[in-house]
């Protein structure tokens, strides 16, 4: 079934992103839901679906969020930590199957003031973790070092991801890191896990984010310009460590092939690009795998400035997880909607009509979505 133009995002909402001490994951999720429903002009009773995404600690599932929100929607479901784009896809599928008509998707986090330890091994301790390969920065650094070896990528070329996103963040009042970061500043920052520096790795912040999705038919009666879902694709890599070269996540290329084939669109159709970025390495990889530049050519491509303000491929115009907030990629979806509505203030990209959002669940899954104000943009 072709999804193009049949479902639209009609509401976005979020809490302040930063430090929200003493507040639970569910409180942050529900406050964001209230904001998103208000944005869509809806009451909680108007929603017949709830899809919750878990926090890093596994909190904020649909049962806990539903209790605090005080609803019994016919359809309620929960996805794992790190599944924002996947939540959107599940919402599209639930709506197109008739399971629900209007769905609110939520995410809440209190990882900053809750002091979640992102260096703790996720599974049992193996030789790699016992040797000190901890935190997502470790495997990301290994992937970047291999990229440097294969293609000659330099620190400066790679640094344009973090520096460019900080330039965008300077135009975003919601961004937590807004202090200008020049290339000289970047290169003077000590390594965290070489070849990654601190600005290449996500911040950790508290906050909630929610998105309301409904049918194209209902969307036309909503207060805002509908942002249609033009295409969705996923590709898993759940063989995990037993994939050849899994540190380089070669299966991302299959997610790319899938979304371009399904939509009939190409990279030149994309006005604004969002890449979920726990580390800048994810952006480096996805620029290449999705075909915005050739394999191994992301370094020179970035150095040419295409992804910075004024460039032809604006990337993470809110600042991403490196400069705006943690929010596990949920704010990327919010920003894509703001840009397509023309509501992005100082950082508005002129004529933004088609946005793409590429995300991954670390070393196991990839998801891509194309969004547009034109319901017929995809064939």
């Amino acid at each position: 079934m072709d999804v193009a133009g049949k479902v639209a995002i009609v509401g976005i909402g979020h809490t302040v992103q930063g430090e929200l001490p003493g507040r639970s994951v569910e409180e942050n999720a529900v406050d964001a839901i209230v904001a998103a429903l208000a944005d869509a002009g809806l009451a909680k009773e108007d929603v017949d679906g709830l899809i919750a995404c878990k926090s890093a600690q596994g909190l904020g599932n649909d049962v806990a969020v539903g209790e605090l929100l005080g609803v019994n929607p016919p359809y309620a479901q929960c996805l794992d930590y790190g599944t924002c784009n996947f939540s959107l896809h599940l919402a599209v599928m639930a709506i197109l199957s008739g399971m629900a008509e209007t769905i609110v998707m939520s995410y809440g986090a209190n990882a900053r003031t809750g002091k979640v330890d992102f260096g703790a091994p996720l599974g049992g301790v193996d030789l790699a973790t016992a040797s000190g390969l901890v935190h997502i920065a470790g495997p990301a650094a290994l992937a970047l070092q291999r990229h440097k070896y294969l293609y000659g990528t330099t620190d400066e070329q790679f640094g344009w991801i973090a520096v460019g996103q900080r330039e965008w963040a300077g135009r975003n009042p919601n961004a937590i890191f807004r202090k200008p970061l020049s290339m000289a500043d970047y290169l003077a920052t000590p390594y965290l896990v070489e070849p990654l520096r601190r600005p290449d790795v996500t911040m950790i912040s508290d906050g909630g984010v929610a998105v309301v999705v409904t049918t194209a038919e209902r969307a036309r009666d909503m207060p805002h310009t509908p942002v249609y879902v033009s295409g969705i694709a996923e590709q898993s890599g759940v063989r995990g460590a037993y994939n050849p070269d899994n540190l380089l996540r070669p299966w991302l290329r299959d997610a790319a092939r899938s979304i371009w084939t399904k939509t009939g669109l190409s990279t030149s159709d994309i006005d604004v690009l969002y890449i979920q970025d726990p580390t800048a390495v994810w952006s480096l990889q996805m620029l290449e795998y999705y075909g915005f530049c050739g394999i191994g050519e992301a370094g020179p491509f970035l150095a040419e400035g295409h992804t910075r303000p004024g460039g032809r491929l604006p990337l993470n115009t809110h600042g991403g997880q490196l400069s705006e907030s943690y929010a596990w990629g949920w704010m990327h979806m919010v920003e894509a909607v703001r840009q397509l509505r023309g509501d992005a203030g100082e950082r508005q990209v002129d004529g933004a009509g088609v946005a793409m959002y590429c995300s991954s669940q670390a070393f196991s899954k990839a998801a891509a979505s194309i969004l547009s104000t034109d319901p017929a943009v995809a064939a």
Partner: protein
């Protein structure tokens, strides 16, 4: 905080740790399709065979990639920075990630290494990489 230590009595990975204690690198070899696999897993993800043997591999290989921790991102590694972790492609095929022993030269991809067996407790021996 104490060190991050593996469960050396794990029913699947146990023989890997027992071999390391004896100064050997042993990985599983599927008895159905013959493929080597690492990290240890209860069955073969290629042919789904459930029988396997442990095969000793040559302790030499090449650095596939590496990362240098300049800050401890887990309390177990406080006081150990800077330290280098490398993915080593063994001459027999599998890639094994472990600590690189500090040396005079900085690590580069392609460096030749040999395994060194570092006893950290009576039960736990970690495979580390010595630059050749």
């Amino acid at each position: 905080m104490s060190a991050l230590l593996p469960d050396v009595d794990d029913p699947v990975a146990g023989p890997f740790w027992a071999a390391a204690r004896e100064g050997r690198i042993a990985v599983q070899r599927c008895l159905t399709c013959g493929r080597l696999r690492y990290p240890p897993l209860v069955g073969c993800p290629d042919c789904l065979g459930r029988t396997y043997e442990w095969r000793d591999l040559r302790p030499t290989g090449t650095v596939w990639s590496f990362a240098v921790y300049h800050r401890a991102l887990h309390a177990a590694f406080n006081g150990q920075t800077p330290y280098t972790v490398a993915v080593v492609e063994l001459d027999d095929g599998p890639r094994i990630t472990g600590r690189v022993l500090p040396g005079a030269q900085p690590v580069v991809v392609g460096d030749r290494v040999r395994a060194s067996f570092e006893s950290v407790t009576d039960e736990v021996t970690l495979i580390q990489w010595q630059l050749l």
